[in-house]
């Protein structure tokens, strides 16, 4: 009796694990099944290259793909050096309480809700950008990228710090022994030995930037154009889903948002694969 009961519980464990894994596949299956009619009609190319103009029968998501890449890559361009600098500050330059305090503040930042960045973005950042550049409404690629920078930096900083800390101390002893400074030790020993961690941190943060909805939705302006400048209004794939999701369920508009879903799914999956391929991935993200 006890055996069968134990067995039942163990079956539940197995079931749960495979159920959760299957969920990942089912989500993709849904996107594919609902978006496929559009992709299968040989329209995949037009979807990727056309603009979005439903009244003209064009359901391309090219502006949104460009918008997503522009906003997330620009935010990474800001966030990467910023995070590297902060990570150096925390792990190399500062000591003791200062380092501890900085680290705790960065950890706290990971808990700030996205919608708060969007909210403050609307009332603080957008007017500043509008007045400073005197071009456009301030709702633009730049504003969204700046706020996203705040969102993704903590992830990168903490990851960088962890991978610096992983480099065995003995490696650096030699540098210090011949009279090198901590900073020299960092550049000659720590950084070269932790670059996979740095790349993984970057990749994870990029995934976060690509997948964020609220900041772009609230402050990027959502225009359906391919942005030509940093001050142009733009729409991301995520915002596009949020803006169009309730259209006619039979329409091509509705199917096109599943194409957005498929793209986002593939983008983030590729990034996750990249992290795992960088080998060490598993232990690294885990601890």
């Amino acid at each position: 009796m006890r055996r069968t009961k134990e067995h039942a519980v163990e079956i539940f464990f197995v079931f749960s694990a495979y159920f959760s894994a299957l969920l990942t596949v089912v989500i993709f299956g849904f996107m594919l099944a609902l978006g496929l009619p559009l992709l299968a009609e040989g329209r995949i190319f037009s979807i990727m290259t056309q603009p979005w103009a439903p009244h003209l029968g064009q359901f391309g998501i090219q502006p949104m793909i460009v918008g997503t890449l522009a906003i997330s890559l620009l935010s990474m361009l800001f966030a990467f050096p910023l995070s590297l600098g902060c990570a150096i500050l925390i792990s190399v330059v500062s000591r003791g309480t200062v380092s501890w305090l900085l680290r705790k503040m960065v950890e706290m930042m990971t808990g700030i809700p996205t919608v708060i960045y969007g909210f403050v973005g609307i009332f603080l950042l957008v007017p500043l950008v509008r007045e400073f550049f005197a071009a456009g409404s301030g709702m633009c690629v730049l504003s969204a990228a700046l706020m996203l920078t705040l969102l993704v930096s903590p992830t990168m900083i903490l990851f960088f710090c962890e991978s610096f800390a992983r480099v065995p101390d003995s490696y650096g002893k030699a540098v210090l022994a011949v009279g090198g400074t901590e900073i020299q030790k960092f550049f000659h020993v720590t950084l070269p030995n932790s670059w996979p961690g740095v790349v993984i941190g970057f990749t994870l943060a990029l995934g976060r930037a690509l997948g964020d909805t609220l900041i772009a939705l609230m402050i990027a302006g959502n225009a359906v154009q391919t942005p030509n400048s940093l001050l142009d209004s733009a729409r991301t794939l995520t915002s596009h889903i949020a803006l169009v999701f309730a259209a006619d369920y039979e329409s091509l508009e509705f199917k096109a948002i599943f194409a957005c879903g498929i793209f986002l799914y593939l983008f983030t999956t590729i990034l996750v694969m990249a992290v795992r391929l960088l080998g060490v991935g598993r232990e690294r993200w885990a601890r």
């Binding site: 009244h55 502006p63 071009a135 456009g136």
Partner: protein
């Protein structure tokens, strides 16, 4: 003198009594009812819906009324698919929509769609040609229409919007709307966006206009309620609530309530024109 004051008091008291009596009667229909009404769609409707819901739910806590936006297109689809009970539209549902979903339409207010700018902007009047050129992105600087030397920031609505459809058809004569325009998801948000942007231009339900935005005369006609009412202002439309098939039960009572004296008074208070 004293008797006159007393008489006035009596009159006021009496009229208050009758008013409250009439109001209570309109809400009486909801006494003892229980259940949920789900409303989605047109965003111009939201202030009226909210007020009606507040009064009904205030009287009877067993009733829950949920109100979502999304735009007219969303309203039609969601009510048609049975996801909500009432789908609001700021345009007349198309014949196809009515047929496909056997929609019942209830037009409970008349509204207009007006061009608005920030109050800091001097421009208060635009011709049809100017408006069409601005929204098509052909005129890009305010000085070209007599304003400051500043870039024009366009704001438009999403494709599900009835307000966009009416504006596009009646004001822009189906002309292009530039892809550079920022896309806003509701009437309320449009007002907010234009009130924040000194160089912005957008279009909004006339009922939503307040001191935070400046209405712009269209072809010399002010988008005032009077002009909409008298049919002088061309960009006018009805506000509809639609149900799938004949409404029944609580949903019917809600729609009936919109057409009572009290319901229509809410319509007027929120800046729209009563249908009665």
């Amino acid at each position: 003198m004293k008797t006159r004051v007393t008489a006035v008091f009596a009159l006021v008291a009496l009229s208050l009594f009758f008013c409250s009596g009439a109001f209570a009667a309109a809400l009486d229909a909801f006494k003892g009812e229980k259940g949920e009404i789900r409303i989605a769609g047109g965003t111009a409707h939201i202030p009226v819906m909210k007020e009606a819901a507040a009064r009904i739910m205030g009287l009877n806590p067993d009733i829950q009324i949920s109100i979502a936006g999304g735009g007219s297109g969303v309203g039609v689809k969601q009510v048609g698919e049975g996801l909500v009970d009432i789908g609001n539209t700021g345009r007349t549902p198309t014949e196809d929509e009515v047929k496909q979903y056997s929609l019942q339409m209830f037009k409970w207010a008349i509204d207009g769609v007006a061009i608005v700018v920030n109050p800091a902007n001097k421009i208060r009047s635009l011709s049809q040609d100017q408006a069409a050129a601005i929204f098509a992105g052909k005129i890009t600087n305010w000085k070209e229409v007599g304003g400051d030397d500043k870039q024009i920031n366009l704001y438009t609505r999403d494709e599900a919007s009835g307000t966009r459809e009416v504006f596009w058809e009646k004001a822009l004569k189906k002309g292009d709307i530039a892809a550079t325009a920022n896309v806003i998801v509701s009437n309320g948000a449009m007002k907010g966006a234009v009130s924040q942007d000194p160089y912005g231009i957008g279009y909004v339900s006339v009922g939503h206009i307040d001191e935070t935005v400046a209405p712009v005369a269209f072809n010399g006609i002010e988008p005032s309620m009077e002009n909409v009412k008298e049919g002088k202002y061309p960009v006018a439309r009805g506000l509809f609530s639609n149900t799938k098939g004949e409404p029944a039960g609580l949903v019917k009572k809600f729609i009936d309530y919109l057409f009572t004296e009290e319901g229509q008074q809410i319509v007027v208070e929120k800046g729209f024109i009563s249908v009665q």
